[in-house]
Symmetry: C2
Subunit: 154 residues, 2 copies
């Protein structure tokens, strides 16, 4: 059985899930604490997508801890298929949310000057949250490729 | 050598590349012909990303035709690695462009009423172009998975 960086049930897999969970939580908390986030639908979508990523990654991190403690092998076909589907769905949703929020942010700052005219919007906080969302997506993308590779070579 | 749907140098691969090329061209032409597309940075990004996808898919469609005519086998490791990297980079850029444009579109229609107040913007045309961009991304995503699967199982 191949074991690459980020495999489920390995310390590197746990590290990757923890990074995903932490960066998605940071994005969610920063966005939810920014005033006026509900003014754009994309920002609400970002909160929902990051919430999904936090649940998914936290659940899998717990499973990794369980497997590490009991020295269980998680490399079976059905479990890997489930991880591939879940990782890809969550990954695509995270990227979609991060990109749509980034698009809206550029439109607010550069194309329409809404950020300058409506001072109630905390545009700097939105940008920090979007940056965290891209980081969370990057870690999830690494996991997704690893799972797909493991499933193809199992 | 495995041959799955969409393999390079096969009729299904050519079909997939043609669909990508046609839908990306449609998205590009519709967006470029819409009045006021330059008012949003995301729409310009969509044009650039669709342009890249048209070039990439057209080039690979020509290669598929060449391989079909000369009955060449394109399943070698270096060529597949190149296709995987190219497909994934183009795919992620296409999805990013489509999602950021969709985010801006929702912001223009629902969150800010810009579409209603600025009648010079052809918002319906923007939406058609974004829909084509998602279709183009879908076909490219299928190709990307097929190439990654072939590379992993080669």
């Amino acid at each position: 059985m191949k074991s690459v960086f980020g495999s489920p049930g390995k310390p590197s897999g746990l590290l990757l899930r923890t990074c995903q969970c932490l960066s998605a939580s940071a994005s969610l908390v920063v966005m939810a604490s920014a005033s006026g986030f509900s003014s754009a639908t994309s920002f609400c979508f970002l909160i929902a997508a990051m919430g999904l990523e936090v649940f998914w990654s936290f659940g899998l991190a717990c499973l990794d801890i369980h497997a590490l403690m009991l020295k269980k092998d998680l490399h079976n076909h059905i479990f890997l298929s489930l991880l591939v589907v879940g990782d890809w769905v969550t990954g695509i949703l995270s990227l979609a949310a991060a990109c749509s929020s980034a698009g809206v942010m550029v439109a607010f700052i550069k194309d329409t000057d809404i950020c300058r005219s409506q001072t109630a919007l905390s545009c700097n906080t939105f940008q920090i949250s979007i940056a965290f969302a891209f980081v969370a997506w990057f870690f999830l993308a690494v996991s997704s490729y690893v799972m797909f590779w493991l499933l193809a070579t199992i």
